[in-house]
């Protein structure tokens, strides 16, 4: 897919889905409605950005979901009761992410395995922290997540901010360019004397950072946590990156697309709710709508398929 058109797909699918939702449920077309539709998409968008940081360097992170759950547990316990300890734990977990990135590169390990292993580790830590659901959101994050800005609801403002800032960071800054270069041709980066290990550690740390933000935001919305709270984010975040025009290899990612992808996925669920299907088929319909939304990619890739597409690949 050509870079220029990459962003069209997520924009289009979000628009179509939003139109369908507004048609089915006109009440959604309001300040209140938009916030309800999208506020739970904010942590998903952050988790998707985290996943994107990893996919950007040709790896994949199967531990995003349990990591966000772990962060949520820390937020609802330590960050609330002893903010300094909580912050230190979260900082350490970002460093752990960086260390994993470095380990993966130095030992040439498959990221999918290491992150699969880490998903057990984060999950175990979360269960140790909160064997039973509970804890409480720190008030400041509760305030942030329920703030009511004028004109546009919090959820929309937050998504625009996330998309804009990560776009600057990844697509425009010189450091972001270097990180994407690692995904495009790590050997070339190494030949120019950069430490690919440090760069990979850097993008993993960024992933950890956005994972932490996702967990904190999530607790801000749900008011408490449990060890399994965000398991689904792993697959949602992968789907979001792809839906947003990203590719698994080659450092081709789009932060704006990733945020739009996350919003689209969140909206797909609402769309189904508003359809009122028989319970037997509700689960299947979620699969069907994922398929449908992704199939739209076809329209865009048809154009550049065959030799041309491969030639440019």
């Amino acid at each position: 897919m050509n870079g220029k058109y990459r962003i069209l797909l997520p924009v289009l699918s979000l628009t179509v889905l939003l139109a369908a939702v507004f048609y089915l449920q006109p009440r959604a077309m309001s300040y209140f409605g938009l916030n309800l539709l999208f506020n739970l998409a904010v942590p998903i968008a952050l988790a998707t950005i985290a996943q994107m940081m990893i996919i950007m360097v040709n790896d994949i992170d199967l531990s995003v979901g349990t990591f966000v759950s772990f962060v949520a547990c820390v937020t609802a316990t330590f960050l609330n009761d002893a903010p300094l300890v909580g912050a230190a734990i979260l900082l350490a977990s970002i460093l752990a992410y960086a260390a994993i990135g470095a380990l993966i590169h130095i030992r040439q390990l498959p990221a999918i395995v290491v992150t699969l292993g880490m998903s057990f580790v984060w999950g175990g830590l979360a269960v140790l922290l909160l064997p039973s659901p509970g804890g409480a959101a720190p008030t400041w994050i509760r305030t942030v997540m329920t703030v009511k800005p004028p004109l546009v609801p919090m959820a929309v403002v937050a998504c625009i901010l996330i998309a804009g800032l990560t776009h600057l960071l990844i697509m425009r800054s010189s450091t972001g360019t270097l990180l994407r270069a690692v995904g495009g041709n790590a050997q070339a980066v190494a030949r120019s004397g950069w430490s690919v290990t440090k760069l990979k550690a850097g993008s993993y740390a960024l992933a950890g950072f956005f994972g932490v933000l996702a967990g904190i935001c999530l607790v801000g919305l749900t008011t408490s946590a449990d060890a399994n709270i965000a398991l689904r984010y792993t697959l949602l975040s992968i789907a979001g990156v792809i839906l947003g025009g990203g590719e698994f290899t080659g450092g081709r990612v789009s932060p704006v697309g990733a945020v739009l992808g996350a919003l689209t996925l969140a909206l797909a669920g609402s769309f189904l709710s508003f359809m009122r299907l028989s319970p037997d088929w509700q689960i299947g319909a979620q699969g069907a709508i994922l398929i449908l939304v992704l199939a739209v990619r076809l329209i865009f890739s048809r154009r550049s398929r065959k030799w041309k597409g491969a030639e440019n690949g």
Binding site: L37, I44, P131, S132, T222, T223, A227, L231, S273, P279
Partner: protein, 316 residues
């Protein structure tokens, strides 16, 4: 015609992947459809999320707010993680009734089963059967989930009460026969003689299979309410006089929640916390219960509007 004829009630369900939940959905549909037919409510729609996830369910509840339901009946993925969404629903003037997986948000009603007591009674029953006590194997549910923690706490309490018992092994069976079977098979070889197995339901048959495969003497396995567990029990009884007890929550409790919601909408004075007894099947009632349970399903009790009224008045 009641005052609730134009009211719409929705069921928010977080999981449909086992026979208990399927029975729950079926009871809901049966009772709900009938209520709509009778003109008692305008609609009783059921919604299920694809995976057992609080975040997904929170979004689902937010959608229900948008759809303008008058009451939401919820079996929650987490007692606390939905509180944000539930609060929003209450603020929008919606009645929220939780059951089975209850929520802690104060604005919602809770129809709770005393899971802790359910755990404690298992040990109590074993103490009655085995005055000398002995070693127990505990099969737990899904780690990190409220129900698992509660039943486990009850069992611990029971063991403190009856100190002749000792829990020598504990595994997670995730409320699934095949998972329980695998976990028990793995831990059994390193365990000493076991006299009893305390469970959470949905795992008794798997435990029995694993113990049989290991060639051990069959301990007293406290059963849940799945038909295969009870059928195995009946067969063992016929063969060698096997005796045990089944403790569980009936999936039909969802219908009780439905009626409670209807009553709240109707303006009835309903306390926020209601308790329902758990379903108990004994040696005596086994055949009767088994006969009433379809093959492969779950022992069940459905509730009527009258039942709901009497539960409410008992609590008042």
């Amino acid at each position: 015609v009641a005052d609730t004829a134009d009211k719409r009630i929705a069921l928010s369900n977080n999981y449909a992947g086992n026979s208990w939940r399927q029975a729950m959905l079926e009871s809901w549909a049966k009772v709900g459809d009938k209520a709509v037919e009778d003109g008692l409510v305008a609609s009783a729609d059921a919604f299920t999320t694809s995976e057992n996830q609080a975040t997904e369910q929170a979004a689902q509840i937010q959608n229900m707010i948008l759809q303008g339901y008058d009451a939401i009946v919820v079996n929650a993925a987490s007692p606390t993680a939905l509180n944000g969404a539930i609060k929003e629903a209450c603020d929008a003037g919606i009645t929220v009734v939780s059951f089975d997986g209850i929520v802690t948000e104060p604005c919602a009603w809770r129809i709770a089963v005393d899971f802790k007591e359910m755990g404690r009674q298992q040990v109590e029953y074993l103490a009655g059967r085995l005055p000398d006590g002995g070693n127990l194997l505990e099969i737990r549910g899904l780690a990190g989930v409220f129900v698992d923690d509660e039943i486990h706490a009850g069992i611990e309490q029971g063991v403190t009460e009856f100190p002749k018992f000792k829990i020598v092994g504990s595994v997670h069976g995730d409320w699934a026969q095949d998972v329980a079977q695998k976990a028990v098979a793995g831990v059994l070889p390193s365990l000493p003689e076991i006299v009893g197995v305390v469970t959470q339901g949905g795992d008794g048959y798997g435990a029995a299979q694993a113990i049989k495969a290991a060639g051990r003497d069959m301990p007293i396995i406290v059963m849940g309410n799945r038909q295969d567990e009870m059928k195995w029990w009946a067969e063992a009884r016929d063969e060698n006089g096997y005796e045990t007890l089944s403790l569980s929550i009936a999936p039909g409790v969802g219908t009780l929640a439905f009626w409670v919601a209807q009553q709240v909408l109707d303006g009835a004075e309903v306390p926020k916390d209601l308790t329902v007894p758990f379903l108990k099947v004994t040696q005596e009632t086994l055949d009767e219960t088994l006969a009433a349970t379809p093959a492969g399903s779950v022992a069940n009790v459905e509730y009527s509007q009258e039942d709901a009224k009497s539960v409410i008045s008992a609590a008042n």
